[in-house]
C-alpha cells in the first residue's frame, strides 16, 4: 500500500513538471500578448522626469479677471464644454459692513460664471458698497501629500517625479473617489472619457520646454511657472517666493499644497 502511494505521488509530480515545462513558452507568449495591450508609444524621448520639479504660483494681486487662462486651458486640453474646469478664476466681493453695525466687513459674495472663462462683465454690487474685491485663479494645488493619489484604488492617479499630479486615462476606473477626496474641487469626471480629469500642468507642453497654456496666455503675469530644480538667479518663480509673503489653500487639512499664493484674503477657501 505504501509503495503504491509513493509511486502515485511520484507519477503525479513528474506529470506536473512535464506539463509545466511544456506550457512555459505558451504562457510567456500569452503574457506578452496581454501586456502589449497596455504598452504605449512614447512621447518626448529626451525628457527625464526626475530632472525637473515644476511649480506654478499665483499672484492674486495681479489677476485682472480677464479669464483668458480658463479659456485657453479649455482649448489647449480639449476640456468638455460645461461645468468641467481644469483651472478657473473666482471673484471675491467683500461688501462694507451695514451702517451702525460694529463689524469690520459685510457679506462676501463669491462667483465664477463659467469658471470665469468669458471674463467677469458687470458687478452685482454697486461700487460704493464694495470694501474689497479681487480675483483668485484656482487650479490643482500640486500637493506634496495628495489625498487624491492616496485614495485611488488602482494607481491610476499619481504624483509624477517632476511634481505634476497626473491621471492615467487608460487605467482609471471612473470610480470618482479622487474627485470626492480633493479639497479644492480641482478634479472632475469627464463625460467624454468617463474617467477623472484634472489640470496636468499642460504636461505635454512642459515636457517640450513650453509653458502651460494658462501661464503663456496670462497678460498680467499673475501665474508664475518654473522649474525648482533648474532655477536661474533672476527666475520669476524664485523672485516670487523670495519676495512675497505666501499662503496656501486649506493648510489645516495636511495636504501640503505646493502652489503658493500671494494676496489671498481670509475669505478665500
Amino acid at each position: 500500500m505504501k509503495t503504491q502511494l509513493n509511486r502515485r505521488y511520484a507519477l503525479v509530480r513528474l506529470g506536473a513538471a512535464i506539463a509545466g515545462v511544456l506550457t512555459l513558452p505558451v504562457a510567456r507568449k500569452a503574457k506578452a500578448a496581454v501586456q502589449n495591450f497596455f504598452v504605449s508609444s512614447g512621447a518626448p524621448k529626451d525628457y527625464d522626469a526626475t530632472e525637473h520639479k515644476w511649480l506654478m504660483c499665483l499672484d492674486a494681486t495681479k489677476c485682472i479677471g480677464c479669464g483668458l487662462c480658463a479659456e485657453a486651458c479649455k482649448k489647449e486640453n480639449d476640456v468638455p464644454p460645461g461645468p468641467y474646469y481644469r483651472t478657473w478664476v473666482e471673484r471675491y466681493i467683500i461688501t462694507k459692513p451695514k451702517p451702525g453695525s460694529s463689524d469690520t466687513r459685510g457679506e462676501t459674495l463669491v462667483d465664477s460664471p463659467d469658471g470665469g472663462m468669458h471674463g467677469f462683465s458687470g458687478c452685482p454690487v454697486p461700487t460704493a458698497q464694495i470694501e474689497q474685491s479681487f480675483f483668485v485663479p484656482k487650479l490643482c494645488n500640486l500637493c506634496e501629500n495628495p489625498p487624491c493619489v492616496q485614495v485611488c484604488p488602482v494607481g491610476a492617479t499619481f504624483k509624477a517625479p517632476d511634481g505634476a499630479v497626473l491621471i492615467d486615462k487608460t487605467y482609471c476606473l471612473g470610480c470618482g473617489f479622487c474627485i470626492q477626496a480633493c479639497p479644492y474641487g480641482a478634479r472632475f469626471l469627464s463625460p467624454v472619457t468617463h474617467t477623472a480629469e484634472k489640470c496636468t500642468l499642460c504636461y505635454h507642453r512642459t515636457t517640450r520646454g513650453l509653458k502651460p497654456a494658462c501661464v503663456e496666455i496670462c497678460p498680467a503675469q499673475a501665474r508664475i511657472f518654473g522649474d525648482l530644480k533648474n532655477l536661474t538667479p533672476d527666475d520669476p518663480l524664485r523672485q516670487f517666493y523670495e519676495n512675497n509673503r505666501t499662503q496656501v489653500l486649506k493648510p489645516h487639512l495636511g495636504t501640503v499644497p505646493r502652489v503658493l499664493y500671494a494676496g489671498l484674503d481670509e475669505e478665500v477657501r
Partner: protein, 150 residues
C-alpha cells in the same frame, strides 16, 4: 502511532483554495501592465502617453521667430507681458504652415481686459466704455504699443 489523515472534506477544501489562489496569482502576473511600478504605484508608460498630446497654442517665442519687428515693439511697450495668442488666439497651425491664415482679433477685444471692473487692481488701466470717447479702440491706440497713437 496512526498516520494523521486529513478529513476528506477539509482536504477537498484545501485543494480548492490552492486552485483559486493559484489562478489569482497567475492572472495577476498576466494582467498587470508591464511598466507598472516603474516610478511608483502607477503605469510608468502613462507619463509618455500624457506627454504625447499635441500642443494647441504655439507660444510667444514661436511667433517672435518670424514676427521679430512686432515682437521688438511689444517688448518695449506696456503690453510686453501680453502673449501674442492672448489676443490673436491659438495659432499653432499658422506657426507651422504659413499658408494657414492667422485668426483675426475682434474689434472690441481690448475690453476683455480693459473694461472697468471694481474687482480689478486699482493700478490697472481700465475705462468706462460709455465715458470713453465712444470710438473704436484702434482709432486712438496701437495694440502693440498702446500708449502711442496711430
Amino acid at each position: 502511532m496512526r498516520r494523521f489523515r486529513l478529513p476528506p472534506q477539509i482536504l477537498r477544501l484545501v485543494l480548492l483554495t490552492l486552485a483559486i489562489v493559484g489562478s489569482y496569482l497567475v492572472a495577476r502576473t498576466l494582467l498587470t501592465p508591464q511598466s507598472f511600478g516603474q516610478y511608483g504605484w502607477y503605469r510608468g508608460d502613462a507619463l509618455g502617453e500624457i506627454a504625447s498630446r499635441t500642443p494647441v497654442f504655439a507660444g510667444a517665442k514661436a511667433c517672435a521667430e518670424c514676427h521679430t519687428d512686432v515682437a521688438q515693439k511689444l517688448a518695449h511697450s506696456e503690453h510686453k507681458t501680453v502673449a501674442c495668442e492672448a489676443c490673436h488666439g491659438a495659432n499653432r497651425e499658422h506657426a507651422f504652415n504659413h499658408d494657414v491664415a492667422p485668426l483675426k482679433v475682434p474689434d472690441s477685444y481690448c475690453l476683455r481686459c480693459h473694461e472697468a471692473n471694481p474687482s480689478r487692481p486699482k493700478w490697472f488701466k481700465q475705462i468706462v466704455v460709455k465715458e470713453h470717447y465712444g470710438v473704436t479702440c484702434t482709432d486712438c491706440h496701437l495694440p502693440h504699443q498702446p500708449t502711442q497713437t496711430p
